[in-house]
Subunit: 346 residues, 4 copies
């Protein structure tokens, strides 16, 4: 059995890691930490886990923690991972960081977009961006995984086949994403107070969402060319789920059927990407609790615009599910172990 | 007192007309018809109206109906208005049609987009598109108002200032709209069954939504040039509200402040269009039951794309509120009479 | 025009007072205060009010405030009204307190249920419980109105006809209430964070909700006999609305039709209480934004239990609507002035 | 591998059976039928199952079906199972009926409550009521399981410890249940159209819900005495979940701690019943997709009433989860096989 630790386990991604890992056949959860909930039983903070795990949230002391696990999942706020990761790695531990601290390759980008000076820029080059569909080979031996952001996961998977083949006009990529509220985390604040979210929909962080540099970095690497995107996130009154609607112009337009062929080929061997057929369109409602990314493509001959729809569960493939997929790859387990779960419906 | 009739009054737009008109100081609701609910008291179908109106839904017999009212609001399914409108007009009545039968100027467009042969193409040229901010002068004397669709209202108001001034590149207009479920009407069917809508979001009618020709017709008239748009509607788990996120490229880029100036000037005297200031962004949650359209603009220097956000209540400014605004203009009442109501919050 | 002030105006009851009063024909809103939002324009905190009011939230300084208005609406947290009310009354102002500080007649009850020592017990006897259907005559000349709690309003109106006539077995009254989330106020905290409320329902404050003494006090006065109730509130994933399901045993059982007769007679002249007929049952969905209380009664011959269903909008008849109704009575305005609005639907 | 068939598999309980059984290690789904969806791939009707099952919905022909499976799950409308069950049993098959046709022991009860003449009254005595916590021994060898209704499951489990010990006054049991919308099934109709359910809560079927005779039958058997209950179901705007709030009077009052002891003892060895501790109260939100029943008890010394709160997922322990638990018992599999899944949160 592999001993794992979850650092920062009382938020939504922590809870989803716990929910999935209690049933993972090769894993023992040996440590769960939380600043706010230290001392409380896990099932008090997550009543649904009662009977599944009897751990207590502990404070996080890196040197102590290192004795208890071989793989560390970090679910900490932006800027919170850089320090502990360095210590854990130096003690020979492998880390899957669900936060943003190691996703960007250029340390200056943290200054520009996250407004902090990265404390460990030297670690950035060694981190592997944990999107298995793109970096599976690099993930296998990695010591430090930067688990992708939720929006970037939906968007990069949605665009990869066309970006990689150079089929798109690079400066005409418009991304309109819609997210459920768990995407903003579990800390209460006025904009996410129930009556403020319910019965409305709104855009936020126009032009300055922190996932922009992550999306552009990965698309540029895939396309081997500087890619700039217009990205606008929206908050939707639902608990989980992301739908990204992506508008692109092809250099030489392929129609819907051809596009589906491209996507099906690109993701042929992927266990967690599904290409929609017939009239069906992706909807995160069918993905709650699952690790899938559902993708639909449509080319509008009349306007010349191509639309890509990409749906995930922000806590599944967009965070904790993907982190476990990464762990499975790193450890040589079957990649879908503990993850082959259909989404809840309804 | 003006006698009015509501034809097809048991759906959501009918209900909203009733809700607003029971308190309109110059109007007497003299007839409310419904095929399905004929014979039932209005307050049985709309319990909230109990004590506000004691009418019974009647069957619609045009010649009888004509005796009871001077202005007719029609809230009938697509294709259902063309016949009765002709009869009512010929009897000297004025009609505000909330359906789509008179919104398109070219009868062939009905064949292409609505899949029916328009039975009264000769009436099309006489109909006035009832968007007061654009056609106020024509609405005043009109005998037949084609009340705009909900999506088109949000979109045309959002684009008018820039389209009219010729500031936009005409083939780079991407519209991503999000609507609450009342927009699909009150007829139950599987996709709108509560558990099928709740906790999800999906695009629908990719490339073939019937509001496309309406949007393009009006934008082309405003821009005096053929305008083509990419329009993708989405269904959001909320009862009311539309948010349209519109992505455009300016020929010569003005920044956010300049754009706000343009919009504020354009809508300076409009009682029902509000331009967002500071950090505020439009959200239909603040518009429920109101006749306002809230518009935000943002220019992203980094990408060169400009984003316009336009929010309405699909049953308010997107249907029944706007219909009453049209009636007020036609009758010479104060334009905001019966409509000067802040949206419900929360 | 009557000058009024709203003290503590940035929460949900404050917002609803503003929403309703901007259109009240006899009122000028002359002062709106808020601790947290002092200095901010009202429309920044309530975007739906943009164009309806151009006030700025001010700090609350009683002596300054007293110069600006004749009637004061107080929407302050428990324990916050007692001080200011005393000062305002002494300056000849009339006060409608939407908080709980003057609802209970016995000062010890504040110690037991609210855990504070009442600072002004001498004012308690002069306060009038502002439920117009029971205390209309006392409200008219009152200087201090204790506006009823939301749950109590639904419950007292639901029980009054049977309690007053002595028809019920006093110790067999079970009240199961369900409330939307705005009932807990606008301060964010974990239990009301969107994903924690959505897709669930739960009971809370079993046996110790602060509305219990208020309910029992008023029912005991009505019944002229000590009445004890079992009251259990539940939180429902909706923004507004209360449904109270009340189970009682009649001493000598009247059947459904007879009961409806009793209720219709009792509330015959009431503008804001409606008794359901036929198969219809009360649902707060039809009451959003309205000042009505809808009541249904049903006697089950098989079990001998009688069920009373009572629905309100917790911010309407359950708070701000009722406060305005009280103001109308106090000032001799028409009682339904500014309140005769059908609920939003859907 | 056990071959199983799902008859009537395109509704919500059918979908949940499929979702759970695709991962059951001992089961092969060999047949899925549907009248409405015959000929369509399962994943078209349940997009979340894409990649998990590649069956096509078939029409149901009992003699053909009998060749394909050994255990039959029937998820048919009331009155639809009686015929097929008889045929399947006669061919030696074992049946788990998720409908109500075999839950009541007295055939006349079907006439009174379901308004149909039971076609196979002779089978009623042989059917076993599939509530494992009460009838585990009888379930093991049973040929025909009447899988309990969703409300009855929550209520009987909530009351069993006190009813069985004779602790309650039998005619003072008040049950106020709240259900998500999936409980009414997947057939669209106006009351369950999204905008009609959203933002409201209502009671329905006062005094005549069909689960009443089922609840009373089982409580009477447990208590060895005629038990009558007042049962009022409510519809809540959420997709899944039931919370039953049950008010009882004890003959000789035990307090909260004593009650918890009784419940913990009664359910000590049960894998799927959890008794709440400390301040925690049951909430179906933590049970979505799970097979648990969470129970809380509280005695109010002040009023003498005892409150029991019982929460389940109506599609889990309230239907499909419980059906699989029954199958596991019948087949001698580990009882929690395929069911040991924590509920989704959030």
């Amino acid at each position: 059995m592999l001993n794992i630790a979850i650092i920062g386990g009382s938020g939504y991604t922590g809870g989803e890691l716990l929910r999935l890992l209690v049933n993972h056949p090769e894993v023992r959860i040996n440590l769960v930490t939380s600043v706010q909930s230290a001392g409380r039983p896990v099932h008090e903070v997550f009543p649904g886990l009662k009977g599944h795990i009897d751990k207590i949230f502990e404070p996080f002391v890196p040197d102590e923690a290192a004795k208890k696990a071989d793989i560390f999942f970090l679910a900490l706020p932006a800027g919170g991972s850089a320090g502990p990761v360095s210590r854990l790695i130096s003690m020979g531990k492998r880390v899957i960081d669900l936060g943003p601290d190691f996703r960007l390759r250029r340390s200056e980008a943290y200054k520009t977009w996250y407004k902090f000076e990265h404390p460990n820029p030297s670690l950035l080059s060694g981190a592997v961006y944990g999107l298995p569909e793109i970096y599976r080979m690099e993930i296998k031996p990695a010591r430090l995984i930067a688990n992708p952001g939720c929006y970037p996961t939906s968007i990069i998977l949605g665009l990869a086949p066309l970006i990689k083949s150079g089929a798109l006009i690079e400066d005409q990529i418009i991304i309109d994403s819609k997210s459920g509220v768990s995407g903003v985390g579990r800390s209460p604040s006025l904009p996410y107070h129930f009556p403020e979210v319910n019965e409305g929909i709104e855009a936020y962080k126009l032009g300055n969402h922190r996932h922009i540099p992550e999306i552009e970095q990965e698309l540029s690497l895939l396309g081997e060319k500087r890619v700039t995107v217009s990205f606008t996130p929206h908050l939707v009154p639902m608990s989980r789920g992301i739908l990204s609607t992506i508008y692109v112009k092809q250099k030489s337009a392929m129609e819907t059927d051809g596009l589906r062929g491209i996507y099906s080929d690109f993701y042929r061997d992927e266990p967690f990407v599904r290409i929609m057929e017939g009239e069906a369109l992706p909807n995160p409602r069918s993905l709650r609790g699952a690790n899938f990314c559902d993708i639909g493509v449509y080319h509008d001959k009349r306007t010349g615009w191509t639309t890509i729809l990409s749906a995930i569960d922000n806590l599944g493939k967009g965070a904790s599910g993907q982190a476990i997929q990464n762990m499975n790859i790193m450890m040589g387990f079957e990649e879908s172990m503990g993850l082959n779960i259909p989404g809840l419906f309804p």
